[in-house]
């Protein structure tokens, strides 16, 4: 009994630690990689060595700021929104396996659960945009929900293709069933999943909802201080979750040479390589227009995901 409790506490602590540390690593990597891709050097002073403590300093700064709720805002919803944006990612992260046995909870319907949680997180953005009583926030929130509508479908279809191939919704089961040749077989699905996931996180080039050059900062316009920091953290937690999930579904998770010992390293390595791609795309691509966003989702990603589903179905039947 005590052993079970202890194990549960350990798993929760591990998930929490990963949730608090890995997004910051991605954030710092974004600072530095983006800077060097643009011929700059990024933060250099915080912490002494190449600005490694920049995000810690940012966190301290955010924590010191005044907690402002606009007069016209719907206070309760406004205060709740950052939590709604952040907590689902924590909940979803608990189901992502790092290696066999190293997982928060190995759910039977893990894939379904993680996708559902990712969908909920977008609600935080919509809530924040609606409750802020600000036209830019509202426009951002509506764009965000339109984006969720458009991209949830290809995301789920692409994930369904893997689930069909593996014959299970359990994430560890999917990794165990994964074969290297799936890289080719599920390539379209993987691309669609990753792209749609980026759009769901409203990461550039799909950052129409926050489009800072036209609607200030979209749903986050009125936010400041710790609540804003939570939204930012949610963005990076979202990147982590998307990359980890893509790794687990399409890149074989912990599978690789010496995966008996190096399993967790492989998962993290693949996830961070994908996070690098996320950052890279942000630097290389201009923002897509709203109509281009919708066209990409409905005219490219959905048919591609359906095609992948058909291919998977045919191969599975054979």
């Amino acid at each position: 009994m005590i052993g079970e409790v202890l194990e549960a506490v350990l798993r929760v602590a591990g998930v929490l630690a990963a949730f608090l540390v890995l997004p910051l690593l991605i954030g710092q990597a974004e600072h530095k990689v983006m800077a060097h891709m643009q011929g700059r050097v990024g933060p250099m002073y915080a912490g002494g060595f190449h600005g490694w403590a920049q995000l810690v300093a940012d966190g301290v700064k955010f924590a010191q700021k005044e907690d402002v709720v606009p007069a016209g805002a719907d206070g309760t919803v406004y205060r709740l929104a950052p939590g709604v944006a952040l907590v689902p990612y924590l909940a979803a992260l608990a189901a992502i396996p790092l290696a066999p046995g190293i997982v928060g909870v190995d759910l039977e319907i893990g894939l379904f659960y993680v996708l559902a949680a990712m969908g909920v997180a977008v609600l935080g953005t919509v809530m924040g945009g609606w409750a802020s009583a600000n036209k830019y926030s509202l426009i951002g929130a509506l764009r965000s929900s339109a984006q969720l509508m458009a991209y949830e479908l290809p995301l789920v279809l692409a994930a369904a293709s893997v689930a069909m191939a593996a014959g299970t919704l359990r994430l560890t089961g999917i990794v165990e069933a994964w074969q290297p040749w799936w890289l080719v077989w599920q390539a379209i699905g993987g691309l669609v999943f990753f792209t749609a996931g980026l759009a769901e996180l409203s990461r550039p080039p799909f950052d129409m909802p926050v489009a800072d050059s036209e609607i200030i900062f979209g749903p986050y316009t009125e936010y400041g201080g710790l609540r804003f920091a939570l939204f930012l953290l949610a963005e990076y937690a979202g990147i982590l979750l998307l990359c980890a999930l893509t790794t687990v579904l399409f890149l074989g998770g912990w599978r690789g040479p010496f995966d008996e010992v190096l399993g967790p390293v492989w998962t993290l390595l693949k996830a961070f390589a994908l996070a690098f791609v996320v950052i890279w795309l942000r630097v290389a691509m201009p923002r897509l227009r709203e109509d281009q966003l919708q066209r990409l989702a409905w005219q490219v990603l959905v048919p591609a995901a359906l095609l992948q589903l058909a291919v998977t179905g045919v191969v599975v039947l054979l």
Binding site: V33, A35, H36, M37, Q38, G39, R40, W280, A284, M285
Partner: protein, 198 residues
């Protein structure tokens, strides 16, 4: 088409990532300024005769000069005592100065120079009036003038200095230079273009 654009964007940004950044971390590493940088105006007060030309030419009147006259004993016994201007105050208000450099152009006695020094920000605008001691200190930061181009015409000042040197040394040398200008051997030696500036 869109994919080609995306690929070229990714290639460009990745290529940039692999190269060293050009950022200079300014307070840690000082910038390499181009020659003849216009940072601040320095004063060589030994050359100043208080002619006031700089203060008059200044478009926004940011140069303040005070002086008094001193009587000098005659150079030869029984001669007439002469008067000489003595500089009391020379200040430039750098909150007004627009760095046009007209004062430097106008100075007939080479008392004003461009210095590349640029770190003289102040917290109070009134502290931007810099007095002669500070202006004199900046004189030490004035770099030597860049060397002449190969085969450039010799500046008039050099010729004048050569003449003056010849006159001081005695008549014959001067006459030699005068009589046949084509004989360069008679001229005072001049360093090669590469080192003449130093």
């Amino acid at each position: 088409m869109a994919l080609r654009g995306l690929a070229s964007g990714l290639a460009t940004t990745f290529g940039r990532l692999t190269r060293r950044s050009v950022t200079a971390q300014y307070p840690d590493s000082l910038p390499e300024l181009p020659p003849r940088s216009r940072g601040v105006i320095a004063l060589l007060e030994e050359n100043c005769t208080v002619c006031m030309l700089c203060a008059r030419e200044c478009p926004d009147w940011c140069i303040y000069i005070d002086s008094h006259k001193e009587e000098q004993p005659p150079a030869t016994p029984g001669g007439k005592p002469r008067q000489r201007n003595v500089l009391d105050r020379f200040a430039i208000d750098f909150s007004l100065c627009m760095y046009c450099g007209i004062c430097i152009e106008a100075c007939p006695f080479d008392a004003l120079f461009w210095s590349p020094e640029f770190e003289y920000a102040e917290l109070d605008i009134r502290d931007l009036i810099h007095e002669r001691d500070r202006l004199r200190e900046w004189m030490w930061t004035v770099p030597p003038p860049p060397a002449d181009d190969l085969g450039a015409v010799e500046p008039k000042e050099v010729e004048a200095a050569a003449k003056a040197a010849g006159r001081d040394a005695g008549g014959p040398s001067r006459r030699a230079t005068r009589s046949d200008g084509a004989a360069p051997a008679a001229r005072p030696p001049r360093t090669a273009p590469g080192e003449s500036g130093a």
